[in-house]
């Protein structure tokens, strides 16, 4: 499978512009443009229903855009979808392997589907590499939720894709396996220049991405590295700790200069753009023994403020 193709030459693994997609007249993706450099681990974030899954389906040819276009691994997403499909690995959000085949049978199916050489060897290696030995002869439908995800990743890696589209690959995976998962992803990106697009709702995972895009209502609101995104947000954040007063939370959130109030356990993050005004207002509202201080704005603060912008997302 290791062959020299168009995809080895291009700088951008993904370069699409002005994508639009509607379902029964409702616009789901509107003028979405996205560029992802080759060999990156790229995070796709956004609230539920913002269009992450739809975007991935457009990129791998499972959906045809109503308008717009671009390239995926240098191939035209509309005209050359067969070539694209040869070099990408798409792991859908929901389990999409065969419940009534065993894990090993599923892997053999995938190996044959992609016409791999040394199928037996590859399947066995995959089983060993991903720790599937004990479940290899179980029906896939009988696996637990987390194991299904681990098994899906194994299956999607078998044909050594140059671009991985992983739709919430770690939802429901335990912390240790998740760490392992990310280790594999980073290795693939670094050693084999695989481009990886991951959608996730976990902040710690977002922080492991080199770059990310935040999607809302089917459009990219911000894109960049974490420091860039935080800096671009221009948010100033104060932390009230500990703070368990619901009343205070309500009062703070009513203030015009406060853009958002977010609770993190016992802590309360209050963010806005005007540092002096924030200091003044917080100081006048809190009691004297309440501790509060300025902290660096976190990615999560930025995301919460982004998701609060312009009403709520799609249903």
């Amino acid at each position: 499978m290791i062959s020299h193709t168009k995809s080895d030459e291009v700088a951008y693994a993904i370069d699409v512009h002005d994508l639009n997609k509607s379902f029964s007249k409702k616009k789901i993706i509107s003028n979405l443009s996205l560029r992802v450099k080759r060999g990156q681990v790229f995070g796709l974030l956004g609230p539920n229903g913002s269009g992450k899954t739809t975007t991935m389906r457009l990129l791998c040819g499972l959906l045809k855009p109503d308008s717009g276009g671009g390239t995926c691994l240098g191939y035209d997403i509309e005209k050359e979808s067969l070539q694209i499909k040869q070099h990408i690995g798409y792991m859908p959000q929901n389990f999409s392997l065969y419940d009534d085949l065993t894990v090993a049978e599923n892997l053999y199916f995938v190996a044959r589907l992609y016409g791999l050489d040394n199928q037996k060897q590859i399947v066995q290696q995959t089983i060993l590499d991903t720790g599937l030995e004990n479940v290899a002869h179980k029906l896939a439908g009988e696996l637990s939720g987390g194991w299904k995800k681990r098994f899906s990743l194994a299956a999607v890696l078998m044909h050594k894709p140059k671009l991985l589209l992983l739709d919430e690959p770690t939802a429901g995976v335990d912390p240790k396996a998740r760490r392992n998962y990310w280790h594999i992803l980073h290795q693939l990106a670094q050693k084999e220049a695989v481009t990886i697009i991951v959608s996730t709702h976990y902040m710690d995972e977002a922080e492991r991405c080199y770059e990310m895009a935040y999607i809302k209502n089917g459009d990219v609101l911000v894109q960049g590295t974490i420091p860039q995104i935080i800096a671009d947000s221009k948010l100033i954040t104060f932390n009230l700790s500990p703070c368990d007063s619901d009343e205070l939370e309500t009062q703070l959130s009513r203030l015009r200069i406060v853009k958002q109030v977010a609770r993190f356990g016992n802590d309360l993050h209050v963010s806005g753009f005007d540092e002096q005004a924030l200091k003044h207002e917080i100081g006048s509202l809190v009691s004297s023994h309440q501790r509060w201080e300025k902290i660096p704005t976190s990615l999560e603060d930025v995301f919460i403020s982004l998701s609060n912008r312009q009403g709520s997302g799609h249903a």
């Binding site: 379902f23 389906r57 791998c60 040819g61 499972l62 959906l63 045809k64 979808s81 067969l82 070539q83 499909k85 040869q86 990408i88 798409y90 859908p92 929901n94 389990f95 999409s96 392997l97 065969y98 419940d99 995938v110 589907l113 992609y114 299956a155």
Partner: protein, 385 residues
């Protein structure tokens, strides 16, 4: 007593029951296709059972082999025609030509009037008229045969009253001999079992492939499948081929039962039957794939299967006489592959039909299959919306 009433009230009108009722109702109204089909079902059944099916068919295609052209033979033929059961489509034929017509299903009856008919009739020698009926369709011929027999005492009544009064007595002046061709003992199984072969194949073959793609859609496995570099035709052929084997297994089971349990004869070539079954099996599989590529769920695919199966069963001539149906029903019947397959199987097994007669029927099946395949390929979605 009070307790019972309370219990009943609670369980019948209790909120849990209500919850389920409401949910079922909402789900029922949501599936537009299912609702349409439920509404259409009575209409389709009314049309099929009420208008298409006729257990007492008239105007059955009849060939007459006349050994002698005379007033008497003409009178007899007119008498037959007047019963409205016989439609004398072919006259002036040789025996061989008439036999061919019956093999091809173009004539259900061959009526042979012998060479010395009028002479023997006038002499009171009770000449024989032979009615050969295609007994592979027993329902179709039963009433016509009875009508033919009832005709004899009356047919020459007017004529003979004056000129040949002697012939008015019992026994009637002609001896009508009935020969039930291809199934002389009129065994029901001869009619049912060969046709059943097609019915069973239609039902199972369409259903298995109708579910094939919808199952992938419903379970979500289509996402991985379509993200892989496969051609639509690879998916379709891959889903069809295994069932050809299943189809042949079914075929062998029925053939085995036909031979050993029901003692149905095999007059023609077994090979011819096996070979001509392939296009039929394929057409049905393709119909299923077509349903599967246009329906959204497995339930819808099943409903479509049912709506294909019902007319096939009723209009193919398997259960009810084909010749008795009105034109529109026959047109539909001619389109459906089961109609042609029932003719092929009955023809080969009971009539010993050979290639030349099987070919046109096979052609109709192939044409149907290709049409369905085109629709399936056009409607096959490589995307998931």
């Amino acid at each position: 007593m009070h307790k019972v009433k309370e219990w009943l009230l609670y369980h019948l009108l209790g909120s849990r029951l209500k919850a389920i009722l409401i949910k079922e109702f909402i789900q029922l109204t949501r599936d537009k296709v299912a609702i349409t089909m439920i509404m259409m079902l009575p209409l389709i059944q009314l049309a099929l059972f009420g208008y298409a099916i006729n257990m007492n068919p008239h105007s059955l295609p009849t060939a007459v082999v006349v050994g002698e052209e005379s007033v008497f033979s003409r009178e007899f033929i007119r008498g037959l025609q007047n019963t409205a059961y016989f439609d004398i489509k072919y006259q002036m034929l040789s025996i061989e030509e008439a036999d061919k017509l019956m093999e091809k299903n173009d004539a259900l009856f061959i009526i042979s009037i012998p060479f010395n008919f009028s002479k023997e009739l006038i002499r009171g020698q009770r000449p024989q008229i032979l009615i050969e009926a295609d007994a592979t369709e027993p329902v179709a011929i039963a009433n016509a045969v009875a009508a033919g027999q009832a005709l004899i005492p009356h047919v020459y009544q007017e004529m003979t009253k004056r000129s040949l009064p002697d012939l008015q007595y019992i026994p009637p002046p002609i001896d009508l001999v009935l020969h039930q061709k291809y199934n002389p003992e009129n065994i029901t199984q001869y009619n049912i079992v060969p046709g059943l072969m097609g019915v069973i194949l239609t039902m199972t073959m369409v259903m298995v492939t109708a579910l094939a793609i919808t199952r992938e859609r419903e379970r979500g496995t289509i996402e991985s499948l379509l993200a892989a570099p496969v051609h639509p035709w690879e998916v379709m052929i891959g889903k069809i081929l295994p069932y050809i084997a299943i189809g042949y297994i079914q075929l062998f089971v029925i053939l085995f039962a036909a031979h050993y349990l029901f003692h149905i004869p095999m007059m023609g070539s077994l090979w011819l039957l096996l070979i001509s079954s392939l296009p039929f099996i394929l057409s049905n599989l393709v119909v299923g794939i077509m349903f599967s590529s246009i329906s959204k769920s497995q339930l819808q695919a099943m409903q479509m299967t049912f709506y294909f199966f019902l007319p096939s069963l009723l209009l193919s001539g398997f259960m009810f006489p084909f010749s008795g149906m009105p034109l529109w029903a026959r047109v539909i019947g001619e389109i459906l592959p089961l109609t042609h397959y029932v003719r092929i199987v009955r023809g080969i097994m009971l009539k010993g039909n050979s290639w030349e007669i099987v070919m046109p029927e096979l052609g109709a099946i192939v044409l149907f299959g290709i049409t369905m395949l085109s629709i399936a390929v056009l409607r096959y979605r490589q995307t998931i919306d």
